[in-house]
Amino acid sequence: MERNQRLEMKGISKSFHGIPANQDISFCIESGEILGLLGENGAGKTTLMNILYGLYQPDAGEIRINGTPVRIHNPVESIFHGIGMVHQHFMLIQNHSVLENIALSYKDTPFFFPKLKIREKIETFSKSFDFNMDLTKKIWQLSAGEQQRVEIIKALLNGADLLILDEPTSVLTPQEIKELISILKGMKAKGHMIIFISHKLDEIMDICDRVLVLQKGRIAGSALTRDTDKTSLARMMVGRDVVFNIKREKIERGRQILSVEHLDVMGDKGIPALKDISFDVFENEIFGVAGVSGNGQRELAEAVTGIRAVKSGKIRINDQDITNTSPRHIYDLGVSHVPEERIRFGIAPGLFLYDNAILKQHHLKKFSQRYFLKYKEVKHHTKTLMNDFNVSAHSINSQIRNLSGGNIQKLILGREISEKPQLLVASHPTYGLDVGATEFMRNHLLMLRKTGSAVLLFSEDLEEIFELCDRIAVIFDGEFMAILDSDDQRLCDIGLMMAGSERI
């Protein structure tokens, strides 16, 4: 097999259920080059790379290797063509040793005594790239950086000439990032091709020779990193100089509803997810938190609604301390929550529509009497909700899992705001919805603002943030880079702030 020295993707298009994820994308990469792939979440970066790795088939377009068109039907074929991929979520067996993981993927692993026989090969190999690791350790004993190195070894051992790294730095410490960069530069010197997917501008500028910017599934631009700067890349990524939309009528904000002071919260992995966050949200106000997902938005929403423990700091609703009290208590004080993964956290998929319509209110007097639910009232309430919020379903007696995402989201929103909350915490409320449902959700949020509630909105969709919010906070790595009024001119650089390279 000759080495893969030049790879080309030509006119690649791919859509899912009629929604285009990639449209007419062409690029090429040559031996010894590091290509950056930059774009917001949902811009189509991962889809494009999954096509290259054989996980998806493109609807149109072709892939050429060394000038010859090839078809890649599955990961095995892509490995055969010298393509290796390091997924964002590592594909490793946590309970197995490093050796066993490598033996699983290595194509020339012998049948008998596999660990014994490939050990030496791995050792000489990892020496040449300066990886030092104990091959008998179990994966769960390794740091994220070491796990990533195992993934890189797996790809290189299988003869990868092209290595795709999907958001490789998102799980690493700054020191590990430095080590990764030097490893990548070493690979480049040996003639490997690398595609580096990221939305962090600093890294792209630091590592890549060339950068390709994707926006909404199309190529928004491409440039040599030495000819460009972060500001113009950020604008390319966001897609426009920020335009202000003033459909939102001006309303004077009222008294303070939510106050958060010096909040520190731990993430799932025991590392700090929020660092010293302070802000207030007022009546008649939508407070937006913009940022790339995974920078602490989820933890903030969970801390405010009482699902996640607060390490230090204070959260107050109407001057009443709610820090580390129960979610029920917080709900009863008037805090509603539209959670980010609506199927997992917003509903009980196997229950009926009317059960889901009162998931949080079943304890209220009007729906229950001692140990029994008043199903007549519950069903009546469900029908009213469905009317008011345009939920279309053929019966309230059907399981909610049969509804479309948009209808589920409308029912959740209806449930959450039917009790006239003081504060609504909405996480990515329009994620994955079609245009009509999106418009519906946004109008309801504005209505809520008009009727005197406060809204804490988390969104990755900048258009949504600019359209709805009175004030915007930009979150990066658990910290607010800025809290600005939505007509502040400095928001032009929101892309830079989201990427963590500018703080106001």
């Binding site: 490995i79 594909m91 067996i93 197995h96 033996a103 993927s105 008998f112 005594f113 596999p114 660990k115």
Partner: protein
Amino acid sequence: MEDMIVSTLERAMVAGTPLLLATTGEVICERSGILNLGVEGVMSMGAVVAFIVTMTTGEPWLGVICAVGVGMAISIVHAFASVSLQANQVVSGLALTMLGLGFSGMMGKPYVGKPLLIKMDDLAIPFLSDIPYLGKILFSQSPFFYLAIFLALTAWFFLEKTRLGIQIRSTGENPRATETQGINVSRIKYLSILIGGGFSALAGAHLSISYSKSWIEGMTAGRGWIAIALTIFALWNPARAIWAAFLFGFIFVVQYLLQPLGISPNFLSMLPYIATLIILLLISFKDPRRLNAPAMLGEPYKRGER
């Protein structure tokens, strides 16, 4: 007294043999992530098929081969439901047990109470069988005894020291990651279920043509369920299953040793089942992460889903 102890231990080995065979099979199956509660039913099928074939042809080894073949074939029910249809493994395993128990009872009706005249000779290993006490306990047993130990060690070797073993274990730990390495996860699971079924049927064959030399409905007497408990007790390791199985074999026969002491035989025959409960209780106090259970045991795996 001395004779009594030796003969009890000797019988403990015989009683432990079907437990070891079935446990080894269940270990292989569970390491690939599939919980198979059909052991009892497949064992029963193995017993009846081995008995009928041996009785009609006079060839005990042909009976064994047919039993294993039927055990594998009937396990396809569980494989199809749990792997291809991603059904609930508990439900489909229980279905397999009911199917096996019912079908074997029906097939065996005409053979109930008929003695098997063909004998399978014990295999005395030269020299070793002359060792006092030990020789009689360990080295002049039925061929099934040696086969069970040999197969358990082979299973251990395959799981730990071969590429296929790594693939089976990886499938049980993280089928998605395994699939991205270009391995056909469904094929691995089918293979493991079929091997497990073959082992269960082999255990049944031992019961009917070597252990009791007769067929009666319900003769497996919960041994399949005990094997599932032993799988946990052995921490999913076939080598550990060896001593776990013979320990339980001893509990099965210790009643004969205790009966002269005046303990009710009805109580004594409960012993193996009580011991199973106690062991499962003790295991549940252990730190679950150190139990070594396959991470995705019992979880249906759907391809291409996030």
